[in-house]
């Protein structure tokens, strides 16, 4: 028989240590969040004829449509511009998805949070895993596109690995943080959705930063997402990401983790009362 001892009081599992314990305990329930995420994806498309292929169709429709019009503005060849847009857009969907999913990560799971004593991070991992599955599906169509446009992998391609690791690391902290804040202040969800809608236009996805004059290129650099997209996209286009981009990404990641840890340390235990 399994023996579990749990102690609930003001001090147990509170503070930053409680946050780490929650993250760790949730991570070990990998079967649970994997099943959850997979169920949710299937559920969303269960009653449509094309099913999960809608993820790919809507992605290709966007990339195709946008590339057709915007390639003229960029001065690039259509083929390479399609790959540029596809990579940038896949990265953008993943990143911005974390903002939108993050705001609902706990509120949408209130049925579970108020029924079972699970680590709250389970809901974050489940949401993150779902985005990763969608991201992987999209990459599965982007890679053939890249090969078609004459892509040859090189050493610089390997930089994609740390970039993806950074994406995942950020996603956990962003979703946990936004999930807590949005559970307490419902306006945050609306605010984040509005901002995210704007982000696609101010991030170099539909346009190329290098094609801009000095002032505008500088303004684009003020947007952290420019750098997040670049560390993933540049290696796959055979270019070295700028050191500035890596530096900004590291700094922002650290900031987000500190904010998430502090916020979780203070407010995590209030979460079930807020839902």
């Amino acid at each position: 028989m399994n023996i579990q001892t749990r102690r609930y009081d003001l001090h147990a599992a509170s503070g930053v240590r409680g946050f780490w314990m929650d993250l760790w305990a949730g991570l070990s329930m990998v079967e649970l969040w994997r099943t959850f995420a997979w169920d949710e994806i299937q559920q969303r498309y269960r009653r449509s004829m094309l099913g999960v292929s809608w993820i790919l169709l809507s992605f290709l429709m966007f990339v195709g449509g946008v590339s057709f019009f915007f390639s003229a503005l960029s001065g690039w060849e259509l083929q390479s511009f399609i790959v540029y847009v596809a990579l940038g857009y896949a990265a953008f969907i993943f990143i911005s998805g974390n903002f939108i999913d993050g705001c609902q990560v706990f509120t949408a799971s209130h049925v579970w949070i108020k029924a079972l004593s699970l680590p709250y991070s389970v809901h974050v991992y489940r949401s993150l895993f779902r985005s990763l599955l969608i991201f992987a599906l999209q990459m599965a169509v982007v890679i053939p596109l890249m090969i078609w446009s004459g892509w040859v992998p090189g050493l610089v391609t390997l930089l994609v690995v740390p970039a993806l690791a950074i994406y995942v690391l950020n996603a956990v902290a962003v979703q946990y943080l936004l999930g807590l804040i949005a559970a307490r202040f419902q306006d945050v969800g609306h605010l984040v959705t509005s901002i995210t809608r704007l982000l696609i236009f101010v991030t170099p996805i539909l346009w190329v930063r290098e094609g801009l004059d000095g002032a505008r290129a500088f303004a684009a650099d003020l947007n952290p997402l420019t750098h997040y997209v670049e560390i993933f996209r540049a290696p796959l286009l055979g270019e070295m990401p700028r050191m500035t981009s890596w530096a900004v990404v590291f700094g922002v990641t650290l900031g987000i983790w500190v904010a998430a840890a502090l916020c979780a340390a203070v407010f995590r235990r209030r979460l079930p009362y807020w839902l």
């Binding site: 399994n2 579990q4 079967e31 649970l32």
Partner: protein
């Protein structure tokens, strides 16, 4: 091995819409009787706005293995909150709760299920969520389905189930994995006679294994049949802790009524 120790537990639910009581706090009598109006359990800030509701206050007790606790009290006396704290859902605001043993709780039948998913999928999710391995879930699946008695409904989404069917599935899942501590809210008494009998049988085999049962109910017969020790909660405080029969008669003689005998 199962054990529960609760010391000076207090829980307050926060209110965010800042309701102002329609009863004037200055003129209304402090305790307006049995109703909720004017009870001292509403926590107010300086300007008289209601900040929260104190659901539990100064609750302490210890439960040893093999004990079966029956929880009685009027609506709003804190029964469900106490069960949720014991289940680890709400962290205590003051005091401490120590639980030894594998705990399963059934507090609200509408929670803890994905209603778009089938009964079978929910068995998987709930099994994994209570910390079991996939193989364990698979080995119990047939038994859970049989106990729930849903027939082919087990492959339909839970949203097509009646309340009774949901309850059967929930109870079957919760008890299948042999928890050390079982926490049940009053909805159990909503089942039909056949299900109540099966549930009672299952609870007695469970308690035979030195588990702890905590059951909240308004049904005197259910409590008498399943519980040895009674807690009477009143306004978030422990009014009485003693043998089930004594607690029931004290509760009833103070003007409270329970659902009389039933099948």
């Amino acid at each position: 091995m199962s054990h529960i120790l609760v010391q000076d537990l207090a829980v307050t639910y926060p209110l965010f819409n800042r309701a102002r009581s329609s009863l004037d706090t200055q003129t209304a009598p402090l305790d307006a009787g049995e109703d909720f109006g004017g009870t001292p359990r509403l926590v107010r800030d300086k300007r008289g706005y209601i900040k929260g509701v104190r659901a539990l206050d100064g609750v302490s007790f210890e439960v040893n293995e093999g004990e079966r606790i029956g929880l009685v009290g009027a609506n709003g006396s804190g029964k469900t909150t106490l069960l949720q704290v014991l289940a680890g859902i709400y962290p205590p605001e003051e005091g401490s709760v120590t639980i030894e043993g594998w705990t399963t709780s059934l507090v609200n039948i509408n929670l803890g299920m994905r209603s778009e998913a089938t009964g079978n999928e929910n068995i998987t999710l709930r099994g994994l969520a209570s910390g079991r391995k996939r193989v364990e879930v698979e080995s119990r699946r047939a038994e859970i389905a049989a106990f729930a008695g849903l027939g082919e409904f087990i492959d339909l989404p839970v949203e097509t189930y009646s309340a009774g069917m949901r309850m059967r599935l929930n109870f079957a899942i919760a008890t299948a994995f042999e928890p050390d501590i079982l926490i049940l809210d009053e909805w159990l008494s909503a089942g039909d006679a056949k299900f109540r009998k099966a549930a009672s049988e299952r609870m007695s085999t469970f308690v035979g294994r030195a588990g702890i049962l905590v059951l909240a109910s308004h049904s005197a017969s259910l409590l008498r049949a399943n519980c040895t020790r009674g807690f009477w909660l009143h306004d978030g405080r422990m009014r009485m802790d003693g043998p089930m029969d004594e607690v029931l008669s004290a509760y009833e003689s103070s003007g409270n009524s329970l659902t009389p005998e039933q099948g």
